[in-house]
Symmetry: none
């Protein structure tokens, strides 16, 4: 009994390890420059073993992306409560926190944007769609917060929630990409604050302010 369980556990573990190694390899060398043998060698397993866990090369990038997708989904669901704010300030902080969170999910590990935003986009249409949907989901979440902000009267009533959310999302992804290159906390903070000021105050000088 336990024998079977332990074996299954080992299998699951190896499957995870393969996904991780593939992720690692795809991030470092790119999907197209990575061979199944490279992944297997990293793990010290025979390359035939790979095919006991995944159907083919295409299958593994799918799993890598799915893995990232679920990580992101989990992280997003943890923070997802657009209704929790009682004051403008609370709202701002909440939005800032969720924004940081979204960015962090991708920024946490520079391999994530590399694989998700670049490598996965060159595999085929299906995967491209898959990733696009993930990004759309992030924009939808942003939109939900904006929508709530409008409802509470914190945000402009005439706000084009959907497209403003997409714009903000674009800015956040720019941040992620910036982070991917430099990974400098100070820069990240400045970028983050620039986005927030852009959001709440705009860039224009205020006659009254």
């Amino acid at each position: 009994m336990t024998g079977i369980n332990r074996r299954q556990l080992k299998k699951d573990e190896l499957k995870r390890d393969i996904i991780d190694a593939a992720f690692e390899a795809f991030a470092k060398a790119g999907y197209h420059n990575t061979g199944i043998a490279d992944i297997a060698e990293t793990l010290g397993i025979g390359h035939g073993t790979f095919y006991r866990y995944f159907q083919n090369k295409r299958d593994i990038i799918d799993h890598v992306v799915a893995d990232l997708a679920s990580r992101i989904a989990v992280a997003m669901s943890e923070e997802n409560d657009p209704t929790g704010a009682r004051t403008l300030d609370e709202y701002r902080h909440q939005v800032a926190r969720i924004g940081e969170s979204l960015v962090s999910i991708l920024s946490e590990d520079p391999r994530i944007p590399r694989v998700l935003l670049f490598e996965a986009m060159t595999v085929d249409d299906a995967l491209r769609s898959r990733v696009s949907e993930m990004l759309d989901a992030m924009a939808s979440m942003t939109a939900a917060y904006l929508h709530h902000g409008v409802g509470l009267g914190y945000l402009r009533a005439d706000l084009d929630v959907e497209f403003t959310a997409k714009a903000i999302n674009g800015a956040m992804i720019a941040l992620v990409l910036q982070d991917m290159q430099s990974a400098d906390a100070a820069i990240r903070t400045r970028f983050s604050e620039a986005i927030q000021r852009l959001m709440y105050d705009g860039i224009a000088a205020r006659p009254g302010a």
Copy 2:
């Protein structure tokens, strides 16, 4: 003399044709799924001929990117006059125009973002850097306009010009990507206006407004 020139002309023409065909192919099938033979076949030339014009496969994507880079540089330089505005309204319009222009350069042909933002990013570090620099250049241009706006007093004096420019750039690229998928003029207009309102008015409700 003229014979040589004419020959040179023909050579240049074919070189251009190869670049265009490669661009076309990379956009449609991706860099890694495109063979030299595919490109040559499209042009009706022998695939050995390719190697008389380009050193290798890596070389051609470089030229494709360089070609896009120069197209973008030209388009940017045409519009590049951050000092031309005399009133806030003029400034806004000028910035809107240059923003539209930047977006248009990439959006004009959906193959451009496909090749530049996806395919080129999976070739190697050198090319990735190359494209990053192009995007940085775009952000720098945005920054120049912001800088000028601050100088003229149209924009907030405490504006973090550099990072706000990057944020806006990210939003514009999001627009480009959106356009790449749908190519719907109405959507593009809405997205564009959302970005502009975000820039000048922010999203917050104004007590006084």
Copy 3:
């Protein structure tokens, strides 16, 4: 004791099942396109188990062929009594019956000629010889009957028993192959009668007849 016997029985049973499943698979997909795993899966056993009963893939086709050989030998020995005829007519009927029998052994199941005459012939020289010997044995049996027929004066005294037997055998195998494709009883009867008439009457018109 009985426990061991029962175990032995079970082992023998599984061995049989594996042979049958292999026969089935080889007939359907061919020896070279059949994997050990396919055979094991059909039986619902682990494919490692296969190797407890057979040394390797080569071994199993040997057993399949041996199994067919013994089936054929049994069927042949049941009918084998070239001395039993007392009149020409009896002789003819006896020969017809044994001929039908020989054909039936192979024709009974279209998988038999498929495996024996085609698949087994592409494995290696040894197996090819094995099958050839089986066919030779069939020809020898035919020859025995012819020999007896000559001895009794029913058949031509100058009959080249050996090679005529081979020729008749070839005709019978043609019938088997025909049957393998169509399995139409009427066709089979016509074919069978054509062979018998060919044997006894030849094809030539008889001046006196």
Copy 4:
């Protein structure tokens, strides 16, 4: 002009050489045990070159079979004149000659029956059908001669032309297979005569004869 022709000639020659080498290899080691690399190595060419001439491994066996088919068709058409006989004796000789001819086509080179009758039958249904049709064509030709013989009154009026032809064909193929193994001229003659006597005289003792 001549340059192109010479090149084309060389290509045709190499294509032929590949077909021949494949034929050779399939006959010696079998289709399934022969690698593309084996064929290429025999010819001293790179194995990539193979794929400039044939789409894949399946393609080459098709060409090998087609090549044999056309050789056989040519040989058959050379002899094909069932109407040329004026006397029974002439008819007999004619039939004997065409029979010898049919047998010779296959027997001439023991690799032919090996590839055609065994290897090709193991590849897939399509090829199996292809070869079956070839054998049917041979039987049809035999049938045509029998039909003519009946018309001229040389053969029994009640002869089942079609199936008798198939039976005779089976006998001839048995001869071919015999030849494939031994290649002894004396044996071949005996076998051939046994078939002819079987055809014209049958095996039965004749009361009057």
